[in-house]
């Protein structure tokens, strides 16, 4: 169904990215539209509202140069489709899935809608394959499993790009099945520099041919940002479920996505909810994040590592808050750790991996892994309380045991969290046991007597 309309009398108004038309053909909500004007290229848009005699089209590209009089509207009669086929990897696409590396378009084997993939919950497989990231604070305490969505909650100026790049380069299964991860990098409103440095890093480690990049740059239209992750995920699903690969999707920066959502919602005149973000932001973000997982009977998996920057470092801001309610945990970066020179500056207590219990322990990693993690969490939580106490009463006012907790907290951060390079799981766990050895065994109530006897080598407690 194609309607090509030259529409002198059709367009009634152009406001920001919205083009208002008088309805004279029967279009469907969500249908793709091409808007062009004399001598200009077609610009892509989609129908966002049908109301009586009016149709509202949202343009996903720049509106400059468009006039009411000379706009030509082409209704494509169907929602936006993405051509998919072999050869996605190694390529760079723009925010609407078109090549931006000068190469030819992907030879389409299928065309798919970018927003329709809802996995039937009854068909989902249970994610439980442990992914080794090489980062102790993640591997031991907040483990990532295949098919999970685990965002990084960061903030301006913190090294989230470095962490994500490192994970993309070194992630592998603990139980080797010989297959590398394919990486889909989705840049949403990112600067040219950060896109380029990711590309360079992947090239440097030889992983570029396993990588597809989708880029909507900071200078490109806002409305496009709402579609970029959907194009990237449609590609990821093709790589996973059609080509049978294990795909790691990095989405950065989801804060830009949410800002775009707020802006577009405001331009539609919708009633805002918390801090001006639309009330449907939860459902909208869910349609992105829920696209992680795997389907029984199909070969590949989609694992998501979204990155967001918390406005004003505030974890209760609607963007991280709503994200945390949808994703399966979060890795939280902390400015104070960063100031103290600790890399990666991961605050393990507010971090969480909800699928960890399914992917660690007997038969997955190490039988003592769960207890080690629980003990580290419990002891570090206590250390944090003691720190507050000591800031009031001073180190001298503490009991001898509490002083040990202070030392434990410092060494946990300096030796366990802090790292250069990547670590094997055994190495990470070894450091965990080592720092726990600072504490007297009576304090280790999460460990069994046997675990204490095997792993805890009492260091000469200096008290």
């Amino acid at each position: 169904m194609l309607f090509d309309l030259h529409a002198e009398d059709l367009v009634t108004a152009i406001e920001g990215p919205l083009v208002f038309l008088r309805r004279n053909v029967n279009v469907g909500l969500g249908d793709a539209v091409e808007v062009s004007h004399a001598g200009g290229d077609g610009r892509i848009g989609r129908v966002v509202a049908i109301d009586g005699d009016q149709v509202v089209v949202e343009l996903l590209e720049d509106t400059t140069g468009l006039g009411i009089e000379d706009a030509r509207i082409r209704f494509l009669g169907e929602p936006m489709l993405m051509p998919l086929g072999t050869g996605l990897l190694g390529r760079i696409f723009d925010g609407l899935g078109r090549p931006r590396d000068g190469g030819a378009p992907v030879a389409a084997r299928v065309e798919r809608r970018i927003d329709l993939a809802v996995i039937n919950p009854a068909e989902r497989g249970l994610p439980q394959d442990f992914i080794l990231t090489g980062v102790s604070a993640i591997d031991v305490l907040n483990s990532l499993v295949r098919g999970q969505k685990l965002p990084i909650f960061s903030a301006g100026g913190l090294p989230h790009d470095k962490l994500a790049t490192s994970i993309a380069q070194s992630a592998r299964l603990l139980k080797e099945d010989g297959q590398d991860f394919a990486v889909v990098f989705c840049g949403i409103g990112v600067s040219h520099d950060s896109a380029e440095s990711f590309r360079a890093a992947m090239e440097h480690s030889g992983a570029l041919e396993h990588t597809a990049m989708f880029l909507n740059l900071a200078s490109e239209p806002t409305a496009q940002r709402l579609l970029t992750p959907r194009y990237a995920l449609t590609a990821a699903e093709y790589l996973a479920f059609d080509e049978g690969r294990h795909v790691l999707v990095i989405l950065t920066d989801m804060t830009n996505y949410c800002e775009a959502l707020r802006e577009v919602s405001a331009s539609h005149g919708e009633i805002p909810s918390r801090k001006g973000y639309p009330g449907y932001m939860y459902s909208d973000l869910a349609t992105i994040y829920e696209r992680a997982g795997w389907v029984e009977g199909r070969p590949g998996t989609v694992t998501q590592l979204p990155i967001l920057t918390m406005p004003a470092d505030d974890i209760s801001h609607p963007i991280p808050d709503i994200t945390g309610y949808i994703t399966e945990g979060q890795v939280v970066m902390d400015r104070e750790l960063d100031h103290r020179g600790i890399y990666p500056p991961i605050e393990v207590r507010s971090s969480l991996s909800r699928l960890m219990d399914q992917g660690i322990g007997e038969g997955f990693t190490d039988p003592d892994h769960p207890s080690l993690a629980q003990q580290l969490f419990a002891s570090y939580a206590r250390a944090a309380q003691v720190r507050i106490l000591s800031s009031v009463v001073g180190r001298e006012g503490l009991t001898p045991t509490d002083r040990l907790y202070l030392d434990f907290g410092d060494r946990f951060e300096a030796e366990f969290v802090q790292q250069t390079g990547v670590r094997e799981l055994e190495e990470s766990m070894e450091i965990g046991w080592r720092v726990l050895s600072l504490l007297p065994p009576v304090e280790l109530s999460r460990l069994s007597d046997e675990q204490i006897a095997t792993h805890i080598r009492a260091e000469t407690a200096s008290g």
Binding site: G52, P121, S350, S445
Partner: protein
């Protein structure tokens, strides 16, 4: 369901799940309709002269101006029947799993032809793959006489009985019943909520118990443990039937239930847990309007099993997503927003929902119950927001999850000082019958101790812990022990994920003896640090992991061990002075 095939209205505008249509035939508010060529299911929410507004329960992308809307003449209803148990459905009770061949049930008649019957009465027992179920006389049937009743094998769609009515007509009764989701099912009368629902979670049963037919809310910020707690209750609580409603939450969590439950055994019946479970899933990426309906669908299913004579527990995770769906639809209808954009009727909807929880005598004269447990997901974990604060007015148990506890991985992260149970007062007798006449006193002692702990810790933060007198230090020690050994209970520990009332009583008893012994010892000069460093203290702190179900004698050993070592401590410490 859709009878008359002529269009009652045509689409005029579409905004998300809300469709406005020009109406040229009668449609009533609440009527189920079919929308567009794909026959999307919708419900009429408003009618005016020549117009109507419809809430559509499916993805509306692709709907066009002028598409037809067809009325059904029926309110939005769900199809109830014996095939529900063990299966997963969407928000409107349509199966999400394609079943194999048609299930055959064995029909065992409970009445004979010629007997008088009335609404709600049990006609026949059905034996099938899941637990036994019953064919009931429909609620809308006045008195009649049983004309014929089947016996032996029958399928879901077969006629099972015929009832002759007074006016001379006859009504065919099958296994399937359609019921409008927004309408509560009738009961003979409500009963007092004085039977406990055993959850197997110590902090709940011993401190904040919920009665059968009760209503409880679990508010908590993201990642504080609402879902794990609800799943744990769904696994181990002593209900006959579990209705698990995943309302706007994660697909992987539904997958978890579907994968885990069939492998777990109901400790009471020895059957797979899945056989007593119905899962209703509207995950966060499924249509929003169906999310609003899924809660009503769930309660209706719960009432259906209650009417069969069962004790039913419904978990709704999360009621906040339902409230948000209400808000979104309300916004699209152009209604005036109230607090935080929620419609003004949020509060009355919540109260209608929780009001459907009850322990009752069914129309068939059986004692049965429906217990409602709703998770609440307050933005930024702030309990003063509208959904949490209104919910608080309508529930009797409030199990508040605390971020600090969750961050320390202290699970379940229920904060004992922010939680309460109004049912507790009615359950003293129940505990006495379980063999714990001291429950009320012990519970109070624990709660007072936890209160004191909070005060003492505040004080220690100013003066340092060492500066506290020994009798206060020992209080802190006792409270720590309560936390580690009793309140903490990992959902993932094979030994400790379920704790029977007997084991809870034994543990409480051991703790109380410890309090007495430790306070006594300290008053005689033993240092609290020595108690904390002793072997028996470590054993007590780990008793939840080290002493499992059915090992009651080991608690006695533990207490004996404690008394021996405490005596030794007294000798050495006091002698040293």
């Amino acid at each position: 369901m859709i009878g008359d095939m002529t269009a009652a209205a045509v689409i005029e505008s579409v905004s998300g799940p809300v469709v406005k249509a020009l109406r040229h035939a009668p449609l009533s508010v609440g009527e189920a309709v079919s929308v567009g060529p794909a026959g999307l299911l919708g419900e009429v929410v408003r009618v005016s002269a020549g117009q109507c507004t419809i809430q559509v329960y499916e993805e509306t992308t692709g709907l066009r101006f002028g598409d037809a809307v067809i009325g059904s003449g029926q309110p939005l209803s769900v199809r109830l029947g014996p095939g529900l148990l063990g299966n997963i459905f969407d928000g409107l009770l349509r199966p999400l799993q394609q079943g194999g061949e048609e299930v055959q049930y064995t029909v065992l008649p409970l009445l004979e032809a010629g007997e008088k019957v009335q609404a709600g009465q049990r006609l026949a027992r059905l034996e099938g793959p899941a637990k036994e179920q019953f064919v009931l006389v429909p609620h809308d049937l006045p008195e009649g006489v049983l004309g014929w009743i089947a016996s032996g094998s029958a399928g879901e769609n077969d006629v099972v009985a015929r009832i002759a009515l007074e006016d001379g007509s006859e009504r065919e009764i099958g296994m399937i019943e359609h019921w409008p989701v927004r309408q509560p099912r009738p009961v003979r009368r409500r009963l007092a909520p004085n039977k406990m629902m055993v959850t197997g979670q110590r902090i709940l049963d011993s401190l904040f118990p919920v009665a059968r037919g009760g209503r409880a809310a679990i508010p908590g910020g993201f990642g504080t443990g609402k879902t794990v707690l609800q799943e744990t209750l769904a696994k181990w609580c002593d209900a006959d039937v579990i209705v698990y409603v995943g309302c706007g939450e994660r697909g992987n969590e539904m997958a978890e239930v579907l994968h885990e439950f069939p492998k777990l055994e109901d400790p009471r019946s020895g059957r797979p847990l899945m056989e007593r479970t119905v899962v209703i899933a509207n995950t966060s990426n499924m249509p929003v309007a169906a999310r609003e309906a899924s809660i009503y669908t769930g309660v209706t299913v719960g009432e259906y099993f209650r009417d069969q004579g069962y004790n039913v527990t419904l978990m709704a995770d999360s009621t906040s997503r339902w409230a948000e769906a209400l808000r979104e639809v309300s916004g699209r209808l152009g209604e005036l927003p109230s607090e935080s954009g929620y419609p003004a009727y949020l509060s009355s909807r919540l109260s209608e929902f929780y009001e459907r929880a009850a322990r009752v005598e069914t129309l068939a004269g059986k004692k049965a119950s429906l217990t409602l447990i709703g998770a609440v997901s307050p933005p930024a974990g702030d309990f003063s927001e509208p959904v949490t604060s209104h919910t608080k007015r309508y529930v009797r148990c409030f199990w508040g999850l605390d971020r600090g506890r969750a961050q320390a991985r202290f699970y379940p992260a229920i904060h004992p000082l922010q939680s309460y149970s109004e049912d507790a007062a009615n359950l003293v007798e129940w505990w006495t019958k379980q063999g714990n006449p001291n429950w009320r006193a012990w519970r109070e002692r624990l709660l007072v101790l936890l209160e004191e702990q909070a005060n003492l810790e505040r004080m220690a933060r100013i003066v340092g812990k060492d500066a506290l007198p020994a009798e206060q230090q020992v209080k802190l020690l006792c409270a720590d022990l309560v936390g580690n050994a009793f309140l903490r209970q990992s959902a993932f520990s094979k030994v400790d994920r379920y704790c029977s009332p007997e084991r809870q009583t034994a543990m409480l008893g051991a703790l109380i003896q410890f309090f007495d012994a430790a306070e006594q010892a300290v008053s005689e000069g033993v240092s609290p640090d020595d108690i904390a460093g002793s072997e028996f203290y470590r054993r007590m702190a780990r008793m939840n992991e080290e002493i499992g179900e059915g090992e009651a004698d080991r608690f006695a050993e533990l207490i004996a061990h404690m008394e021996r070592e405490m005596a030794t401590l007294k000798r050495s410490d006091v002698d040293a002075v």
